[in-house]
Amino acid sequence: MNLRERMHGTDDAGAVGIPTAAGPRTLAELRRSGEELTSAGDRAVDKCLSRTEARQVHKITQDTGE
């Protein structure tokens, strides 16, 4: 399966999906679930904001690099 098939393929019919860490998802599935798509990220966001250091780590002063 090449990338074009991965990206387009027959995904709307559900036969070929986009590979994700949780297994193939069809593009339709990914599109449909804007909410679900980032639900894991949302949970992680809420976990981050609940940490006591949330107000501390917005300043991560670094040295200029490169």
Binding site: P19, A44, V45
Partner: protein
């Protein structure tokens, strides 16, 4: 396929006449500097804890040390000019036995360098494997810290307070291509800058706020855009140029050069990373073959990248040389159109692996940027980050200027798998995976097979414990024992395309002494064969031809390394 439309084969005025220039596989190396700090560690005057954090991380990464000329710390009296050879941009460099990459400290940032790779897919694999190595180091370093302290590391490019740090990409090109870019045919330079500036719409990592005295903005597409102040230049830590002209060869032989690109953000999404490297490979291959990749040249790429970055709606138009104003998306479409013809002509074969797949992903991405940006959250970092933050603001009643929002910006790229927002999305299947975990795992333990990284890693594995005196990208210096006396021998690997597994397997599959191994390696013919690029038929009516490479560069020119 006959080139038409925007593609212009530039003839005349160049000593090459009508001959097709020599072209080389678009081999790529990369590095990323991490933001690193220790929470709970008190420092004098509240200074950054980057020094302590980077040292703690590097201690957990094993490898063969680069000795070279560099002192490990400055021994000069405080306040006086350094004369001891200390280089704060290259501290503790070590090369990894596992995959041939490297790690060191650059100005108090842990810097991770991938081994040389040929394909954009391998770049994604290699860069992720280096992040996994950093994650392992982070866990180990944290386990050693006293209670109350925690080491944090972020794969981003700015701290939000005016300090930027790099993620660089480097490409192999011919010396002729390099001279065209910087000294002879500056339309290519402007075209490359136009491509870079407009590419942020799929290579940007996203950032809350602005820096470097740029106008205030809630959210912008690129981490780096605010820091570009010049079109071209050698600097990297101030007056940063869009196109860097640092001519540092790292060993490539006389008719090769290394293009050092400091422009791009560090990206975590596979799609962003693949496009960043793969599309650039195609654009550089076109430039190397003296094809202007787009008829559109920006009037002021520096201004354009700033304005485009500050407009996530993608509606801002910027002036071009011809007087027409274009959006970044419109500019990218002209590059795509030319690249399609270029790839279809066969001229990317052997130069850009899996070019057609890269084109397909690029085209699909541009379509979605035009019609359905939100659908790109699984593929493009700036879109995913923006989606996460905007939803968090709605749920928690936050404003863009709230410190928690900036915290989420940083947390997106945290390497801590329990904290990093990107990793959470990936773990739950919300991100397109264009390479597999198994491939990443392989690059944790094995080098790429199709570049000199293979031989570097093999030699370090066999003789890294005592026989290697020094190692760098292009050489390894050995101490060879002959009974009661020792000889110093240096293996130079100037061609990064040589010393592959295929070229050396007959050597490393046998049990040989170090002397015999070096004899055989030194006897290898590693220069790429001359004039080997087969050009597809009917380019400007010319049939299939064997390229005749002519070196028009100054034979007296030496490399700056």
């Amino acid at each position: 396929m006959i080139f038409k439309g925007p593609i212009q084969k530039l003839g005349g005025g160049h000593p090459g006449g009508n001959s097709v220039p020599r072209t080389l596989p678009k081999l790529c190396g990369s590095d990323v500097e991490l933001a690193n700090l220790i929470l709970g560690l008190e420092t004098l005057n509240g200074q950054s804890t980057g020094h302590e954090a980077s040292q703690a991380l590097l201690r957990e990464i094993r490898g063969v040390p680069r000795r070279g000329f560099y002192a490990s710390r400055c021994s000069c009296p405080s306040g006086s000019a350094c004369t001891c050879g200390f280089n704060p941009q290259d501290v503790g460099r070590r090369f990894l036995l596992s995959n041939g990459g490297a790690a060191y400290i650059d100005l108090n940032h842990l810097e991770l360098c991938t081994p040389e790779v040929l394909s954009a897919y391998d770049h994604v694999v290699a860069s992720r494997s280096m992040l996994v190595i950093a994650q392992q180091a982070l866990a180990a370093a944290n386990a050693r810290l006293p209670p109350g302290q925690r080491l944090l590391a972020f794969a981003n490019n700015s701290d939000g307070e005016g300090h930027a740090f790099g993620s660089h990409l480097n490409w192999l090109c011919t010396r002729r291509c390099y001279l065209n870019l910087f000294e002879r045919r500056l339309q290519y330079l402007l075209s490359l800058a136009t491509y870079f500036a407009s590419s942020i719409i799929f290579t940007g990592a996203g950032k809350v706020g602005s820096e470097n005295r740029m106008p205030r903005v809630d959210y912008q597409i690129s981490q780096r855009a605010d820091f570009f102040e010049r079109l071209v230049g050698k600097e990297t830590t101030y007056n940063r140029p869009i196109v860097n002209s640092r001519d540092e060869s790292l060993g490539v032989d006389d008719d090769m050069a290394r293009l050092h690109v400091i422009f791009f953000d560090n990206t975590l999404c596979h799609g962003s990373s693949l496009l960043k490297v793969g599309v650039t490979q195609i654009i550089l291959a076109m430039i190397e073959q003296e094809i202007l990749p787009s008829p559109i040249l920006l009037d002021d790429p520096v201004e354009a990248v700033g304005c485009w970055s500050h407009d996530p709606s993608l509606r801002t138009s910027m002036p071009t040389v011809g007087g027409r104003d274009c959006t970044a998306l419109e500019v990218q479409r002209t590059f795509l159109e030319s690249a399609r013809e270029f790839v279809a002509s066969g001229r990317a074969e052997g130069i850009v692996p899996r070019a057609e797949e890269i084109l397909a992903l690029w085209a699909d991405t541009l379509d979605k940027l035009e019609s359905d940006v939100d659908a790109l959250a699984p593929r493009i970092d700036w879109v995913l980050k923006k989606t996460l933050i905007e939803k968090a603001m709605m749920r928690h009643g936050l404003e863009w200027r709230d410190p928690q929002v900036k915290y989420l910006d940083h947390a997106y790229s945290s390497l801590d798998p329990d904290e990093g927002l990107y990793w959470a999305c990936e773990k739950e299947g919300g991100v397109e995976m264009l390479v597999s975990d198994a491939e990443v795992e392989r690059f944790l333990h094995w080098p790429p097979e199709d570049t000199r990284a293979w031989t570097r890693a093999q030699l370090m594995r066999r003789w890294g414990n005592g026989r290697i005196e020094d190692v760098d990208w292009d050489l390894i210096r050995f101490r060879v024992s002959h009974g009661r006396w020792e000889e110093r021998r240096t293996l130079r690997m100037e061609n990064p395309l040589g010393y592959t597994k295929a070229a050396t397997s007959h050597i490393f599959s046998r049990t040989l002494s170090l002397t015999d191994t070096l004899d055989l390696l030194e006897a290898l013919e590693t220069r790429p064969p001359e004039n080997t690029v087969e050009v597809a038929p009917a380019i400007q009516g010319v049939g299939a031809v064997k390229c005749e490479a002519k070196d028009h560069s100054n034979p007296e020119r030496r490399f700056d390394s």
